[in-house]
Symmetry: D2
Amino acid sequence: MVKIKSFAVIGGDKRQAEMAKSIAADGYTVYAAGLEGLALSPAVQRAQAEKAALQAETVIFPLPASKDGKTVNAPYSAAEIPLSDALAEALRGKMVFCGMKERLRQAGGAWRAMPLHDYFAREEFAVHNAVPTGEGALEIAMREYPGTISGARCLVTGYGRIGKALSAMLGALHANVTVSARKPGDLAWIQAAGFRAVETGSLAQQGETYDIIFNTIPAMIFDAHTLAKTAEGALVIDLASAPGGVDFEAARRLGIPAVQALSLPGKVAPRTAGEIIKNIVYHVTEEGLA
Amino acid sequence: MVKIKSFAVIGGDKRQAEMAKSIAADGYTVYAAGLEGLALSPAVQRAQAEKAALQAETVIFPLPASKDGKTVNAPYSAAEIPLSDALAEALRGKMVFCGMKERLRQAGGAWRAMPLHDYFAREEFAVHNAVPTGEGALEIAMREYPGTISGARCLVTGYGRIGKALSAMLGALHANVTVSARKPGDLAWIQAAGFRAVETGSLAQQGETYDIIFNTIPAMIFDAHTLAKTAEGALVIDLASAPGGVDFEAARRLGIPAVQALSLPGKVAPRTAGEIIKNIVYHVTEEGLA
Amino acid sequence: MVKIKSFAVIGGDKRQAEMAKSIAADGYTVYAAGLEGLALSPAVQRAQAEKAALQAETVIFPLPASKDGKTVNAPYSAAEIPLSDALAEALRGKMVFCGMKERLRQAGGAWRAMPLHDYFAREEFAVHNAVPTGEGALEIAMREYPGTISGARCLVTGYGRIGKALSAMLGALHANVTVSARKPGDLAWIQAAGFRAVETGSLAQQGETYDIIFNTIPAMIFDAHTLAKTAEGALVIDLASAPGGVDFEAARRLGIPAVQALSLPGKVAPRTAGEIIKNIVYHVTEEGLA
Amino acid sequence: MVKIKSFAVIGGDKRQAEMAKSIAADGYTVYAAGLEGLALSPAVQRAQAEKAALQAETVIFPLPASKDGKTVNAPYSAAEIPLSDALAEALRGKMVFCGMKERLRQAGGAWRAMPLHDYFAREEFAVHNAVPTGEGALEIAMREYPGTISGARCLVTGYGRIGKALSAMLGALHANVTVSARKPGDLAWIQAAGFRAVETGSLAQQGETYDIIFNTIPAMIFDAHTLAKTAEGALVIDLASAPGGVDFEAARRLGIPAVQALSLPGKVAPRTAGEIIKNIVYHVTEEGLA
């Protein structure tokens, strides 16, 4: 029997575990599958994946939902959870949420046509995650840099979501903040926010060096030449998704400490990261009921 | 003879006067026409419009360049400045800047095909002007509201340029800030900035009242019903361009003080407003030379 | 008959009127005397001074309670309110609050020994009032300065209560803030808050000029020499209590616009100023009951 | 021969090493003794303690200068550095700086009467160090707390230097900040800064719980009772000097994670901590010369 307002959480990492606990704490029934390696609250019921799916109204897969297109992305699971026809059958008629739905589509069969809500594709998912990403970057900077953020000459390349959130945090902590962008409108926003604005293409020619450099642009910004011109004595933190924007080999040769920081929300703030997914699920579910 | 790096400023108000002074202070030759009613620095040379245009490399018209499509917008001019063929002729081969170029096009003849740089159409113009607009709104609120901004319950409707700039200022002064928007991505940004987010469409149903309400949405948001539900005892400031978003007649009936605040940059911060135009002119001119 | 939790407000200006309305809105009985020239809410009962005092448990005089030591400071009163023996008698056994109690003591007789709670003497009164004072100074700067606060080079002299509150506001609005002080500890706090610190004694030698100068030090800081060295082209706002810290005559000669801004809380934010007094009265009254 | 503007750095940890490098980078001659276990720049000359003292104009001991009253506090030294008569003799006529000078006085003999400048006793030393302490506390909170600082309900007990610096950082990162204090003036400052103010003595009765609690008061604030009432599910970070303000044994029993965080500046930001000492040495030296 399907319980009203019941949720199955299948696979994932700490943020899914936190999300399961948080949904249960809101008073709903929660079944968790594939999280055997993580602690949960007593209110969350552990179940096998198909049973969890059958019993719940709403099913939530992780981000990404699958890494190989064959099994659920479930690093803390006691056993593999195949994207089987049986599991697909159990999902029939349910509201199914996942991150990167094309990964589930790859499993073929019933997975190809199943209605899927991809929270990762929603603008507000990316915006909300910019906050834990920015804080995670700040934590790395605090740990690795031998001075304080206050007074440090910081460069943030790119003024997209992460660049906006991170530069605001750095400025709030009294760093000396420069942000680079390409578009005149973005450069104007950077100045309106109280920061120094630099065109990304002219970084190497500026003759400015920094104490901490945060790259958010997924393109090769910090090649050997630009590193040599801007990053002498600096700490470099690359937040851009693979392949990133820093030539780490060149950084090593130049003696510049460089850190690649990926998937920060799930790592540094799994509770917040879980809340973000939960809130989108609630929001979409309510819209669906309306 | 045309002087290298010489500018003609034709028509306009205080911001053009400030701009003329600022360009002259940068060491360039500046001719000003149609600003007879305003004080200028000795470095700015007053001239008749056609002469000014003939002698300068770059000519700058105000915002809007014309109100009637027949004369230059020049409220401080000793005499009308017609958009004549003679003036058009004097502009041949010059770099000509203006705000709202379609107003000049209306004059017909040579004006229709003249190359015109419209600074008002540039994204960075709007972004930079959000700062003086926000400060102007703040000044009105400080003057009209009998309490402090600190601790005041403020509502900002709309999270476009002005909404972003203004809410940041209010938050920085420790107001209790709520911002309304429609798109989930904007609502997420509002929360990420540390403010309470409300859907614009649900303002009347929320049952919340405010001390100061700033409208930035150019659509009828504050009709009699919404005013009655949100604005009892509040001060309402409408920043949206005409026809605005507040039913002023209803506000009057309800005893709610409401202020229409238009064209704030030129009024409250003409120096900054002039600098914004100057910087765009410089930037485009340099691009043109490169 | 004395009503439980009843208050008499005798004399004062807009802030006392706002306070009377606010206390009445909290559900208490309020009698107002000497505020005939100001609008009050229907919940506030107008009364003659002695009657008001007789009927109330708690009596609140303005700030200063008296200007001449003979009558209550009551600029909006229909008639003078003498500090008579009869009024003193009516206050017997009441909790009596006032600002600058030595002004009432001057009336002699029963006034000399009457128990008086001086809210003006309390540290938290001064701290809370630093906020409306800072906002009032900001409002003047916004009105008088032709540019934006954002980006303006601002100097605040003195890092006492007003200096702290005001510099925080200026920094929050992205001004370029310099603060002067004398003590090494204060200079360190200024830097920790993210501002440039300058020794007050070395202002003239620094060779720095500013766009807006706010003086908070009640001593002659801006004599002709210092004005000439720091304030060319600047707006000067003197917030220090009389005789202030600016040579206004020298400023006039030098063509430097200078504004003397006194008693800002009552003028720019009477509602907040009234709340501050009300909260102290409530707090002390509760302590007294405990 | 004593070189003009030469410095001896004797003993200490990473911050002394950073300070030695920074002074050398300013162009002065620097001799370092007792830092054999730490990397220095080539510009810093290693020397034996007495030789270093003899050759330098100014000698800088660590904080505390000694732990046992018999040897220099030199955890990275190749050998013990006794507070011998010979070392005291070498210091004759030098400017000698140290932290906690009473520790050197304990060595007796010539140490008892030697002129010593105690940088630790200076107000600006404590103020400047509040910034790295606050950032260090923030780093711990980011590492240990599974959510973001943004939106976390944070309590800071005490509004002294560290409480002020830390609460400002938390507020700047959009935490929901409550600060406790005892004095009405401090409670007013807390509110003026935009935070919720609570009387320290009433924490347990408030019925409020928090996500992260930072104690800065060196007195037993968080006993078992107060922990149970305020800290369920919270992370507790004790920043107060020994014996601190948290009953760690009770926290363990209650399942509340609690961290004791001492001497943060030298640990998390040795470069900044070294700069703070260097700047005081420079400042005092210049005063001495004047």
